[in-house]
């Protein structure tokens, strides 16, 4: 799995590409939890290049959000493709996460919160 990263002004942006499923999600999980555990608690996950996300991927997002909360961290998701958005809606995940349309907006929100 391709995972791009960008860091600036206290916010880390992680941008996975391709499939986020039972095969690939452990790499994404390791990357995200690595950030959380090393104290990068303002995270943006840019989903623009994600083809689809299955429940294995949803499970990881939930885990990261739940690890961040007691640390006072922030997680903002952005740039969901139609496939990802539909899965979020079906799973009732839209209500659980901060979601922005663009990376710029997501970074601004992550910076402003917490």
């Amino acid at each position: 799995m391709r995972i791009a990263e960008e860091r600036g002004s206290g916010v880390v942006v992680v941008a996975p590409g391709g499939r986020v499923d039972s095969v690939t999600s452990s790499a994404l999980e390791a990357k995200l939890l690595g950030h959380v555990r090393s104290g990068d608690t303002r995270l943006v996950i840019d989903l623009e290049a994600v083809d689809y996300i299955s429940s294995a991927g949803l499970r990881i997002l939930l885990r990261v959000a739940n690890e961040l909360r007691p640390m006072g961290g922030t997680l903002v998701l952005c740039a969901m493709a139609e496939s990802v958005r539909e899965v979020f809606e079906l799973a009732g995940f839209t209500a659980l996460f901060s979601i922005e349309t663009s990376r710029d907006r997501a970074v601004a929100r992550a910076r402003a919160e917490a």
């Binding site: 499923d21 689809y52 739940n66 909360r69 496939s83």
Partner: protein, 141 residues
């Protein structure tokens, strides 16, 4: 029917096979991803839990033989998955609570729930010692 291994490598191979099938039939992207999710959910279910119904299966990658088949007939795409793990009807799993707060949100059963919502029809039968699951959806041209 194509045989795949009951492992992550097998799931990856199934994904690739479906990619080739989609390309050969010029399926639109919007028709492809629901089946990619269905493949991932159903196969990971068999790989992770399928063996547990059988006492001898303790190994991580189950020895369960899995066969998959894709068919496109009159605009309806059909995915069939057969495996010889213990009898398990995923359609009897209760729907997860999709309104629970984040700290207590259950994830068990979420995959099957997604597949049922994404497909037009999902059918299960136990036949000749095998689980047989069929996912069907009309393809919008």
């Amino acid at each position: 029917m194509v045989h795949i291994a009951g492992s992550r490598a097998g799931i990856r191979r199934a994904n690739d096979l479906f990619g080739k099938f989609s390309a050969a039939h010029h399926l639109p992207a919007g028709a492809v991803w629901p089946f990619q999710i269905a493949l991932d959910e159903m196969l990971s279910n068999i790989v992770d839990h399928g063996g547990s119904a059988r006492p001898r299966a303790k190994a991580k990658s189950s020895k369960a033989g899995i066969d998959i088949e894709f068919r496109l007939d009159q605009g309806v795409l059909e995915l069939t998955i057969q495996d010889d793990a213990g009898a398990f009807d995923p359609l009897t799993a209760p729907a997860p609570d999709t309104t629970a707060p984040i700290e207590s949100r259950p994830v068990g059963g979420l995959g099957i729930y997604l597949v049922r919502r994404l497909m037009d029809a999902v059918e299960y039968e136990r036949k000749d010692g095998r689980n047989r699951l069929v996912c069907r959806k009309k393809i919008e041209a």
